[in-house]
């Protein structure tokens, strides 16, 4: 690492660390936007493993997000104890499952579902796979929506509320904290938590990319038959990709549930899956900085613009309200970026090209 890049990374790190403290002054809503952006980065990084590395188009990714979120929500809210008397007897103070257990459970469950989805779809190519994963996402959502009778498990469209905020090592980050005279709002604490998770995920993704598994995934993406001929076990590796990506989704889901305190099937619509795919592809598929850029751009930018939308709304007689404007911007961004840069905003350098373009010396 050269001195220049050390300085650059240090600057970025300092900026990221100070960001919530600055945003806090403008109101917690701004920090929330940053939090959600980080959460989307986490999701996009997870999907990038499936779509970017292994080249398997997954349009139902949000299902894993939902599985993680509902695992956390059910195990850390009064909903289950209110519904089942025997549970209430077992947990007189309500269910407050430790986060570590929930994380393992949520991530594991999502991972298992990922493999379960992957197994029957291994033989499918490209678009068939896309539509099956999409169907899987819808199935999960319909079940979440309807599992409120005959036995009320998910509370249906009403969703689950009063979910505990995150606690670990005796710290409850749902409350504000004062450290050395500095006041950290709860949203800022979540920001640091998500930032840490994003960093870990980047590290994992980066190491995966360089590893034997990662290289095998990319070989499968480029040419499955050739990869098979080279002795790569395509079946196991595809399943690994599905499971690994799903695990990321599960963890993000648990984080989302604790952050929002409320979850309902509405948050896990097909549109969300599509948005996450769009983030990965817009940014630069399979390229970590690009994926992060895409996620931040698509999640945060429209939110920020929403604050500027007030005057526009009065100008257009209420036809362009904030949510419509947000949707319009996302759509326009997706179409125009793809038209101008079909390989994404920040694509990975093409293999082989850099060699042939290098000056002959």
């Amino acid at each position: 690492m050269t001195q220049k890049s050390v300085i650059r990374y240090a600057l970025i790190a300092a900026l990221l660390l100070v960001l919530p403290l600055v945003l806090q002054n403008f109101g917690n809503a701004w920090v929330r936007i940053a939090d959600m952006a980080l959460l989307y980065v986490l999701l996009a990084l997870g999907l990038n493993i499936v779509v970017g590395y292994a080249g398997l188009l997954d349009l139902g990714y949000v299902a894993f997000f939902a599985i993680g979120a509902y695992s956390y929500g059910l195990l850390n809210s009064p909903h289950l104890t209110e519904t089942f008397a025997w549970l209430a007897a077992a947990y007189p103070t309500g269910m407050h499952t430790p986060i570590w257990l929930v994380l393992i459970l949520g991530a594991g469950l999502a991972g298992i579902f990922g493999v379960l989805l992957g197994a029957p779809t291994l033989r499918l190519r490209g678009d068939y796979l896309a539509i099956v994963t999409l169907g899987f996402g819808e199935i999960i959502r319909v079940f979440l929506n309807n599992l409120d009778n005959p036995v009320n498990i998910t509370n249906g469209p009403k969703g689950i509320g009063q979910i505990d905020s995150l606690q670990f090592f005796g710290i409850n980050i749902g409350k504000k904290m004062v450290v050395g005279g500095m006041e950290f709002a709860s949203v800022s604490l979540y920001y640091y938590l998500f930032l840490a998770l994003v960093l870990i995920s980047i590290l994992i993704s980066h190491r995966l990319e360089q590893s034997r598994i990662g290289r095998a995934w990319m070989a499968i993406r480029e040419d499955e038959i050739a990869a098979k001929a080279m002795g790569i076990n395509t079946r196991n590796l595809k399943l690994t990709a599905f499971g690994m990506g799903a695990t990321f989704g599960g963890v993000s889901g648990a984080m989302f549930a604790s952050f929002q305190g409320f979850i309902s099937p509405e948050s896990f619509s097909l549109m969300e899956s599509v948005m996450i795919v769009a983030m990965v592809v817009l940014g630069g598929i399979g390229h970590l900085p690009g994926v992060i850029l895409g996620a931040v751009l698509l999640s945060a930018l429209p939110e920020v613009l929403r604050y500027i939308a007030g005057p526009l709304q009065t100008m257009t007689d209420g036809r362009l309200d904030a949510s419509i404007l947000r949707q319009l911007l996302i759509a326009l961004a997706m179409v125009s970026i793809m038209l101008m840069r079909p390989r994404g905003l920040w694509p990975s350098p093409e293999h082989g090209k850099s060699l042939s373009n290098a000056p002959k010396a």
């Binding site: 499918l124 169907g135 795919v277 769009a278 319009l328 997706m334």
Partner: protein
Amino acid sequence: MDILVQQVINGLVLGSMYALIALGYTMVYGIINLINFAHGEVMMVGALTSWTVIGLLRPAHPDWPGYVILLIALLVACVVAAVLNFIIEKIAYRPLRNSPKLAPLITAIGMSILLQTLAMIIWKPNFKSYPTLLPSEPFNVLGAVITPTQVMILVFTAVSLALLTWLVNFTKLGRAMRATAENPRVAGLMGVKPDVVISATFVIGAVLAAIAGVMYASNYGTAQHAMGFLPGLKAFTAAVFGGIGNLAGAVVGAILLGLIESIGAGYIGDWTGGVLGSHYSDIFAFVVLIIVLTLRPSGLLGERVADRA
């Protein structure tokens, strides 16, 4: 027994609407290998356009019979949808024809959101009640009922399918379309202009989608900006079910899907002892799809294509 007949009739009606949409998907996919996500939205635009036309015509000419107004609205909807789809293809898909595979897909998804949003701005987001222009007195068939609107849907679908079959199999354009789907490069060498063929495909698909939109709105009596999404998705599922790229497959897949959905919705409560209700009907499509594709990865009538590098 009469419940079964009723569900079969409903399933056929539903399936024929899916078929009209599925054909658009499958034709486009067959020629340029693109899942045109915006196709459901073209159907929605068709429905809403016809709603506006009906709203304008009815007060102006109260003496005109309902079917005349409906026919005029249908024609206008077809033209608007065709022009729209033509423009979409030209500005959004054509420049991306040789880019990485996911790029046009993302553009198509973006287009779908864009059209929905624009429709929301133009027509406002509320549900509009779609007037019943045909007599509402139902006919009795084997103990079940079928409304004139449903009869109209079946007739229109049959006529459209017959016309499409004639167009694809017995005209010069149809031959060019089949040739381009088979091998675009060789078709080009034989004097087929791929751009013209692709534009024509989008226009034909849009006309079929607009017909489906008008039928859908008259059948359910409502129209709204988000109405195209789920039928679009199901229709695509039907196209994959039947083997994508295959016209007959799309129709077979769509009719089967409609039947499965309505019969399943009618009986699932009895079968599962009331545990699962008819609100699960939306997932039948996907469950069936996953099972079929697992057992027969290229769809019911799809050819088994060898893997190409």
